[in-house]
């Protein structure tokens, strides 16, 4: 039971960056913008978060920095995609590379260090009073990163906005048939800018989870592929907030298992493969049609 509860906690932690990465992808791609740059956006968020915490000494302001940084980079990303009409997949590759390079350069500028930042104030885990005492369910509320709750809120909010609001209806329509939406007099690009800015914020939060909640510093390339996993979870989850949440959780379970079987005597590389192999297995044999929003990559004037 003890072990089980620890595994649950671990899984929840592992799921946060993947699910947030997936949500970033879902938000962007449902509006028709191909987002291969989740990894880079997350890394930039991780960096701006630490920078904010470093400058102000407050981790919470650091969090706000990661939100602002995510928003700014999400917006710039869209400028390239929409205003400059760049090839969207290439923007992704470019942003990932840019994030890796610029954060390394800035480490030197702000801390005069290579490879990692100084430690900064972090956002502590929280235990929700009362609820955490409930058996079984309680452990979901015991000593958890507040990011976990933020993640759930984001997923819920995106779901509500997508499926219960006027702008959500329009936005989903934009991803399928932007011309139809445009001819009904809606400024398609404005919606895309706003949504992408939010996608950037979500990625930024995913990044600062790694640097401000899981750790207390920035390390170059510390996202270590989580953005790509998120991207995969978004596709696997069918470009849908709930799907992304579930897919992200599935990947997290596969990753959690990896930590518990590393002493089985199997060469470690096979253990490390586990999350990817499980994903692949599910994809190939359980099957999942790859049908994204119809207008993915399509621009309007």
């Amino acid at each position: 039971m003890e072990l089980f509860s620890k595994m649950i906690t671990l899984t929840l932690q592992l799921s946060v960056p993947i699910v947030l990465g997936a949500m970033c992808g879902t938000i962007a791609e449902r509006g028709g913008i191909i987002l291969l740059g989740v990894e880079g956006l997350m890394l930039l968020g991780a960096f701006t978060g630490v920078l904010g915490s470093h400058i102000t000494g407050s981790a919470y302001i650091g969090f706000l920095f990661s939100v602002a940084g995510g928003a700014a980079f999400g917006f710039l990303y869209t400028v390239f995609c929409l205003k400059f009409k760049a090839h969207q997949s290439v923007v992704g590759v470019g942003v990932n590379m840019f994030a890796s390079g610029i954060t390394a350069v800035l480490l030197k500028v702000f801390w005069n260090r290579e490879g990692m930042s100084d430690p900064v104030a972090t956002i502590p885990n929280v235990t929700v009073p009362i609820i955490s005492e409930i058996p079984v369910i309680g452990m979901l509320f015991k000593d958890q990163s507040p990011y976990l709750y933020i993640m759930v809120l984001i997923v819920a909010a995106v779901w509500v906005v997508f499926y219960r609001t006027r702008i959500g209806l329009r936005y989903r329509a934009i991803g399928e048939q932007p011309f139809a939406v445009q001819t009904s007099g809606i400024n398609v690009n404005r919606y895309r800018y706003v949504a992408m800015t939010f996608a950037g914020i979500v990625a930024g939060i995913g990044g600062s989870f790694l640097s401000l909640s899981q750790n207390n510093l920035f390390v170059i390339d510390m996202t270590a592929g989580r953005g790509f996993m998120g991207l995969a979870a978004n596709i696997f989850g069918g470009w849908n907030p709930i799907g992304s949440l579930l897919a992200g959780t599935v990947f997290a379970v596969a990753q959690a298992v990896r930590f518990y079987v590393s002493d089985l005597g199997v060469p470690i590389q096979f253990i490390q493969m586990l999350p990817y192999a499980v994903t692949l297995f599910i994809l190939l044999f359980v099957g999942k049609k790859a049908k994204g929003p119809e207008a993915l990559g399509k621009l309007v004037k």
Binding site: E2, L3, K6, L10, Q13, L14, P17, A104, L107, W111, R113, E114, G115, M116, S117, D118, P119, N125, L210, Q214, N215, N216, L217, V219, I220, D221, M222, A224, F259, Y260, S262, D263, P267, I268, Q269, Q272
Partner: protein, 346 residues
């Protein structure tokens, strides 16, 4: 150490007695240093070697250029480029992966002096330095076992589990694993040593997850050789209240309540030595192995708030003596640990 909190100046350098005649250093003595493709950052041996060079710059007044190649093949280009420029009095190549290239370049430029760190190459113009990481790690493993045996702090339990994680599964890092495992089990054969590989040097999050998992399986002394990933271990140690052992340079200051010691690997003194000896006209080709005996590796407890009792320190000194004297030959490969333990049963 992590920034302001920990001393970044490696203390191994004092041992090599910096030349007092630094004022006499020729103005134009220039050093070239080529790192591995992993580059600087994360307190790897690249950073350590760099510390040695920077120290030499302050102490000896030399100047230096450095290059962080992006791939292994870049290292060859830079070697060739530096050697052919004839600007450098010595070129320091870090990492065993540079051997293949250096073999050719050093032969092509017989007048050029080279130092090779972490590998051995027998050429008349190459001075080589390797470390016996397994010996230092052995001490770390012994320390881990002793901490538990002697109940040095209430951060350790009665259980029989300790852990070690390294960046990736490769022969160099497995020396740390082998030494640590041998050391722990040498003291207490009943100990179980958990081993895991982070999968990279820049992923503190995974390292932290490994550490918490180790901890949930009962391990409460955990050693790492995982570069910047190791920061996740320290973070976990602080959150969960267990003991960690640092690596390469003195990381004790990062979390002084939880890091009991760091296993120093004094690549910096190798680099410093290479520069100093060349400067003094004493450049000597051949291999210099830095083990416990030469203080090339070893434990450093300075700065930790976990104070070791006499019983532990004396035991550590005792073991160190056995290793230095050659009575204990520490295995460098994981496969050899068992036979080592067989033949050294107490």
């Amino acid at each position: 150490g992590c920034g302001s909190k920990a001393p970044t100046t490696p203390s191994g350098i004092e041992a090599s007695k910096p030349s007092e005649s630094q004022t006499a250093a020729p103005k134009d003595f220039k050093v070239g240093i080529i790192f591995t493709e992993a580059g600087l950052g994360g307190q790897s041996f690249n950073d350590l070697a760099f510390e040695g060079v920077k120290k030499a710059a302050t102490d000896l007044g030399i100047t230096y250029d450095y290059v962080e190649p992006k791939s292994v093949s870049d290292e060859a280009i830079v070697q060739e480029d530096m050697a052919s420029s004839e600007e450098y009095d010595i070129i320091i190549c870090v990492g065993a992966e540079q051997i293949d290239a250096l073999k050719k370049v050093a032969a092509n430029y017989p007048e050029q002096k080279f130092a090779l760190i972490d590998a051995n190459l027998e050429l008349p113009n190459v001075a080589c330095y390797t470390s016996k990481e397994q010996e230092g790690s052995f001490m770390a493993g012994a320390l881990a076992a002793l901490l538990k045996q002697e109940k040095v702090t209430d951060k350790v339990s009665d259980g029989n589990t300790v852990g070690v994680m390294v960046g990736v599964n490769n022969p160099l890092l497995n020396r740390f694993v082998a030494g640590y495992t041998a050391g722990a089990k040498y003291i207490n054969p009943k100990l179980e040593v958990l081993v895991d590989y982070v999968g990279g040097f820049g992923d503190p999050t995974t390292a932290k997850n490994i550490a918490t998992t180790f901890n949930s399986k009962g391990a409460d002394v955990i050693f790492h050789a995982a570069g910047a990933s190791g920061m996740g271990l320290f973070q976990a140690a602080q959150e969960k209240g267990f003991v960690a052992i640092g690596v390469n340079l003195n990381q004790n200051g990062v979390a002084p309540d939880n890091i009991v010691a760091s296993m120093m690997k004094r690549v910096d003194s190798s680099a410093y030595h290479a520069i100093e000896s060349t400067l003094n006209g004493e450049f000597k080709a051949g291999l210099k192995v830095m083990g416990l005996a030469d203080d090339g590796v070893g434990l450093n407890m300075e700065g930790s708030n976990i104070k070791l009792p006499e019983s532990v320190t004396s035991k550590l000194d005792e073991i160190k003596e056995l290793v230095v004297s050659g009575k204990l030959v520490i295995p460098a490969k994981i496969e050899e640990v068992n036979s080592f333990l067989e033949s050294n049963k107490k």
